[in-house]
């Protein structure tokens, strides 16, 4: 019941956000807002595996780009599929990849798991770069429809709404997990896997649930990307900045709760957008680096950590 109430509340916040963006009546607000929302989804998805379960994933870009390339493939084969359906397919594919990756790598712990995820991202990028059908290293052009299919407005507004809803979904999932039996199991795994097993927690199964869910949400976040950028190449789709940002945001916001990644994504995402426009796009990554160093030293529990003991 509490979860339903939360989701309704989140939907209201989302509606208010959309209304405010419409009031400003500037296409750039939607372009910038879309990126921030996308990072809310990515950071929240990363946090399910990285924050709750304690497995640091450096391969965000792979799951994200697989979602995006799923859309490219679908776009080139079955044109008529609506965007939410494509996102679902992208999510399923990234989720399945997450499951497979989890099965292969979850016997590794700590740094070794992280290195394996990074390696997987490189492998996936190499495969896509050499796959001619999706454009190979030249990249693929996607023509973005000009108008929103469900309400009057630009297509970018539609993308914004879709991403807004996906953030509501993923944050609701993350919050529901945090207060559930699954959440206790994840925390136990993060704290001490041996003790978790001894307490009856099926650690392998739970870790696979975490990788699948986390990968799936990342894939869904990536699926609309081709329509957003209209030109997708492996170097930008698999950009390391996705992985770095997605780790930095929960760390800055706080990894223990659902709220941390949201705060981190809104704060850092907005800051980056502002810096990109006002100063330079190179500065935005520097910002991430500096903030990350600062928080790791001064506030290892993130912003949420300030308010809890």
């Amino acid at each position: 019941m509490r979860n339903v109430r939360f989701t309704v509340l989140a939907l209201l916040v989302a509606a208010a956000t959309f209304a405010a963006a419409r009031l400003i009546d500037n296409a750039y607000v939607f372009f910038a807002g879309y990126v921030v929302l996308q990072y809310i989804v990515l950071a929240t998805a990363w946090n399910i595996l990285g924050g709750y379960t304690g497995y640091v994933n450096f391969g965000t870009a792979a799951f994200f780009a697989l979602g995006a390339y799923t859309t490219v493939v679908l776009h080139k084969t079955v044109l008529v599929l609506p965007l939410p359906a494509m996102m679902l397919v992208g999510g399923v594919i990234s989720g399945v990849i997450g499951l497979g990756m989890g099965y292969l790598t979850l016997r590794l712990r700590g740094t070794f798991f992280s290195i394996a995820t990074l390696a997987m991202a490189v492998v996936a990028q190499t495969l896509i770069t050499n796959w001619n059908f999706v454009g190979g290293s030249r990249g693929a052009y996607i023509i973005r429809p000009s108008d929103s299919p469900i309400f009057s407005g630009d297509y970018i507004q539609y993308l914004f709404v879709v991403m807004l809803l996906l953030s509501v979904i993923s944050v609701s999932i993350a919050r529901a997990i945090q207060h559930s039996r699954l959440g206790y199991g994840f925390s136990a795994i993060r704290d001490d896997e041996l003790a978790a097993e001894a307490s009856g927690v099926p650690t392998l199964k739970l870790k696979l649930i975490a990788t699948t869910l986390s990968g799936g949400l990342m894939g869904m976040a990536g699926a609309p990307l081709p329509y957003y950028v209209t030109y997708l190449d492996p170097a930008s789709g698999f950009s390391l900045s996705y992985a770095v940002n997605t780790i930095a945001m929960p760390l800055i916001g706080g990894t223990a709760t659902w709220l941390g990644p949201v705060i981190g994504a809104v704060l850092l995402g907005t800051l980056q957008q502002v810096a990109t426009v006002t100063i330079s796009s190179a500065l935005s990554l520097l910002l991430v680096g500096l903030l990350l160093v600062g928080f790791v030293i001064a506030a290892p529990k993130g912003i949420v950590g300030w308010f809890t003991r």
Binding site: Y184, G185, A198, T203, L204
Partner: protein, 243 residues
């Protein structure tokens, strides 16, 4: 013994060329209090790890209340009713004490056939109260003293509602009074019908607790009998004091 709760037959485990356990035979009856002793490195903890599924035994078979355990993972064994406390306490540091105890309630007690924990919160409180940690229910394990840590370890083990509790050196490093505290706690659990295997170096505690004593030396069981008889056995004395 036909009413054995736990039967260990021909258990063997080696690490590379080192034989940690060889051909260990052991039976534990329902409700029994068994003491397991042996010098450092004799294989006690390896035996516990093989029983609980943390390590896989190379040879032999462990049977627990009719279930063959070989190949079952640690959490499956916990769910069957076998719980352990760790030699060095391993609490979940980011969870409160209540949450620490809640994990096995949700994942072991609640999944037993025909058992539903209707009020997990109340069950947490009962368990913490049993070990005297209720006032600290909302604190983190870092705030605990050594003995409180051991008590939390026992409370968490009991939260899975086990039929067999394996207490791996639950008293090591504690003061005289604290040893008595834990001893009283284990006796209380035993009175509730839980079968207990106590692994301990503190002979005073082992002798006071055990109905039967098993001695491991260099991975072999060299004695099995009443405590009075076992401690007088020449090879047991030799293992501890040298011949």
């Amino acid at each position: 013994m036909s009413d054995a709760l736990l039967t260990v037959a021909g258990l063997g485990k080696h690490f590379g060329g080192f034989v940690a356990l060889s051909d260990v035979q052991l039976q534990v009856a329902e409700g029994e209090r068994l003491g397991l002793i042996g010098p450092n490195g004799s294989g006690k903890s390896t035996l516990v790890n093989c029983l609980c599924g943390t390590l896989r035994n190379d040879t032999g078979q462990v049977t627990f209340s009719g279930h063959k355990l070989n190949g079952l993972s640690a959490h499956q064994r916990t769910r069957l009713g076998m719980a352990r406390s760790f030699q060095l306490p391993r609490p979940f540091p980011t969870l409160t004490l209540a949450e620490n105890v809640r994990v096995p309630i949700l994942y072991a007690a609640d999944v037993k056939p025909g058992r539903v924990v209707t009020n997990p919160r109340q069950r947490c409180e009962e368990l913490l109260d049993m070990v005297g940690l209720l006032p600290k229910a909302d604190r983190k394990p870092a705030d605990l003293t050594q003995i409180e840590m051991r008590k939390l370890e026992l409370a968490r083990a009991m939260a899975s509602e086990p039929r067999l509790l394996i207490a791996d050196e639950a008293m090591a490093g504690l003061s005289h009074q604290e040893v008595d505290d834990i001893l009283a706690l284990l006796m209380k659990l035993s009175a509730q019908g839980v079968t207990i295997i106590m692994i301990e170096h503190i002979m005073r505690a082992v002798l006071a607790f055990s109905q039967r004593l098993v001695v491991l030396v260099a991975g072999r069981k060299i004695a099995d009998g009443t405590p009075q008889d076992v401690v007088r056995q020449p090879d047991v004395v030799a293992a501890y004091l040298g011949s």
